[in-house]
Symmetry: C2
Subunit: 407 residues, 2 copies
């Protein structure tokens, strides 16, 4: 899309934004300071939620956030009254240091469930992080690194978008998460800042749409965290309002979707133990909801994920995963293709199997399955529904990471 | 339950029943002959179903089954018109050999999806199997073995039940499946015969209840097969009718539940790559549906299953899995315990965490997690809902089996 330009530098592309990150062992602290920003967030739908999620749900009600405090290493979940006290302690620390009212400070956590916060260590790392606030690319990178847990690489994205009016604004974000998502060490946290002018209500609408197309379409293991948070702030530095007649500018929405999808794909690619990146595109489903069900079911199937790890073009597992997804399907007319960056081959074309043994179809399929990026394309010929989901293969290392991580 | 007595010998405990099994390489054939039996069945809810499932759904409508033909090694799924022709060919073969009308012969298949049946080999193994029909324990064992695919042991169960009237009847069954269930090599097939007198409609009611408490409460990988079939026949040899005033005798129902649970647990224990057997008991849920959601969610969590493999008492993953299951939950009052055959320890008691580091609670929990049989007991204190689910750990070998299996 021509109106979206990807930029380097993460958060550093946004004016009047300061970020930092510091770490001691497994405990990291990221601070994001975007004074007097309108803000909204989407949270985990898990019924067990971290104290920090409850706390931030309250903060966000006012629609104004000036700073976000994030710690990794401890989820502050299932920690009772003490959990809330620890949120208050940390928010007070940030408030005093930055001279920001407490009710404008959001908090997020990721790490082990059911352990009280080691408040001394986290406070110490917090002071260190606060002392490093800045608006350079390296500050953004440090912020993206300090929230990592089992992540193997930091995840940033920044874009400049030309609105339908011709004006430009920027959006930048960081995320962490090794899937959607491990409830213990794999929480998804995303923080996005734009220099656009946009109310908290409109951020909420725009963010929900973007999250549905991105963070809600990646699967590593199907487990959903108690701590998932995606928080977006708008500091208005561009002096460009992106809402006209109550409608979010469509280019802004597209750019936000693009940014969130970019961050989500980075999480799927960094899925715990992953060696391959998976994309499932479903076309021609009865409606969009059916398309989402089918795409997510393919990406979630342990059997298909294992087959991808093994490089086996086992399309029966794809068909079966669509079959139990709950979507409408007519096996007699479905087309199933797999692709990598170089080739695409139909395995089943309008219900007819092509990929028999000793055919060029199967040979090409086997080659594609060896690639680092494997894409499944399904056409159901039932309607206009379309969706894409992302994931990764299921590997020995997924089991190893999650078997050997000790409470 | 005193009115249920487990018997040895599998199908051999039922009079006027002949069974057999034979195998050549990966292709096995099991035949079950129970002439003129009332019958019913429950099938996969996957929208992609095997030709054999479609075929048998038609046969079962008449309510009478005299023989069941089962092949392993090929699922006869996604095989178009040819798949139905192959069903007819095989049913004709059985019909001629046993002099049983074709419309009384059911058929079931398990194996690779999307490959035409190798009808010559299967016919050859079919004749061999038919030549071995008998009513000895070794016939039952051969029948249980011939339907195996990735199963590592044959699965039989037989019971004698004393009805509320004091009369006795018997029920016997075999099953195959390395989970609930791999769509390719892990289909669940169960065949049950009783010598009771019971109409096909009443079999259907009783079987649905039993399947809901057993086969529908086990999870290995969450994938659901295109071929799952549980078929039950009643040959009336006992001359004892188990239905009075339209009600299935409650002891008969309990015994059928017992048998199905026994077979289901054997499947969970034999889950692909499993080293440990898991049971999750949920008490005090808002209602039974909530209890089922919670129990199945625990058993299905890849993270908890990996933790069990690693022997890690990571109860945060249990809490989280309950939290996203969709059931009602108040974390402040929940009790979470784990147990093996020797010990049971509370990790969380009415919302209070006990299993902190360096406590005897955690030490005992770590010991329990080393056991072959790990049980999770949850009390939610919200209502009367109760359910049990069974599963296994997630291991390197699960990935290996499903990565290396070649189409």
């Amino acid at each position: 899309m021509e109106f979206i330009k990807e930029l380097d530098g993460g958060f550093s592309v946004i004016e009047n934004l300061e970020v930092s990150g510091a770490r001691e062992g497994k405990f990291g602290v990221t601070v994001i300071v975007s004074r007097n920003s309108t803000a909204s967030a989407v949270f985990t739908s898990n019924k067990v939620v971290a104290a920090s999620v409850e706390y931030t749900k309250n903060v966000i009600k006012n629609g104004i956030v000036s700073a976000v405090f994030v710690n990794s290493g401890n989820a502050n979940c299932f920690t009772g009254e003490q959990g809330f006290k620890d949120c208050e302690t940390l928010v007070e620390l940030v408030s005093r240091d930055l001279k920001i009212p407490k009710d404008e400070i959001a908090i997020a956590s990721t790490g082990v469930i059911g352990r009280e916060m080691p408040i001394d260590i986290i406070s110490k790392v917090a002071y260190e992080s606060l002392s490093k606030l800045g608006n350079k690319p390296e500050n953004s990178l440090a912020a993206a690194k300090a929230i990592m847990t089992t992540d193997t690489f930091p995840k940033e994205c920044a874009v400049e978008v030309t609105l339908t009016t011709g004006e430009t604004v920027k959006i930048a974000g960081i995320t962490k998460g090794s899937g959607m998502i491990a409830p213990n060490m794999g929480t998804m946290l995303s923080f996005i800042v734009t220099d656009a002018e946009i109310s908290s209500e409109d951020i909420n609408k725009a963010l929900k749409q973007a999250a549905d197309l991105s963070f809600n379409m990646i699967v590593v293991d199907g487990d959903e965290s108690t701590n998932d948070t995606c928080l977006m702030m708008a500091n208005g530095q561009s002096n460009v309002n992106v809402v006209n007649d109550g409608q979010v500018d469509s280019n802004f929405q597209e750019a936000l979707n693009y940014l969130c999808i970019n961050l989500a794909k980075k999480m799927a690619r960094d899925g715990e133990g992953a060696t391959k990146f998976l994309e499932a595109n479903v076309y021609g489903a009865k409606d969009q909801n059916d398309a989402k069900l089918a795409a997510k079911s393919i990406i979630s199937s342990s059997l298909f994920k294992s087959a991808v790890f093994g490089g086996d073009p086992n399309w029966g597992r794809i068909v079966s995963a669509i079959g139990y997804s709950g979507c409408d399907l007519n096996p007699d007319i479905v087309t199933i293709a797999i692709a990598d960056d170089e080739d695409e081959v139909d395995l089943v074309r309008k219900g007819e199997i092509l990929a028999f043994e000793n055919t060029p179809y199967l040979e090409r399929a086997e080659k594609i399955m060896q690639s680092k990026n494997v894409t499944v394309n399904i056409d159901m010929y039932l309607g206009d529904g379309q969706a894409t989901a992302w994931g990764c293969d299921l590997t020995y290392d997924y089991v190893k990471i999650n078997a050997e991580y000790t409470t």
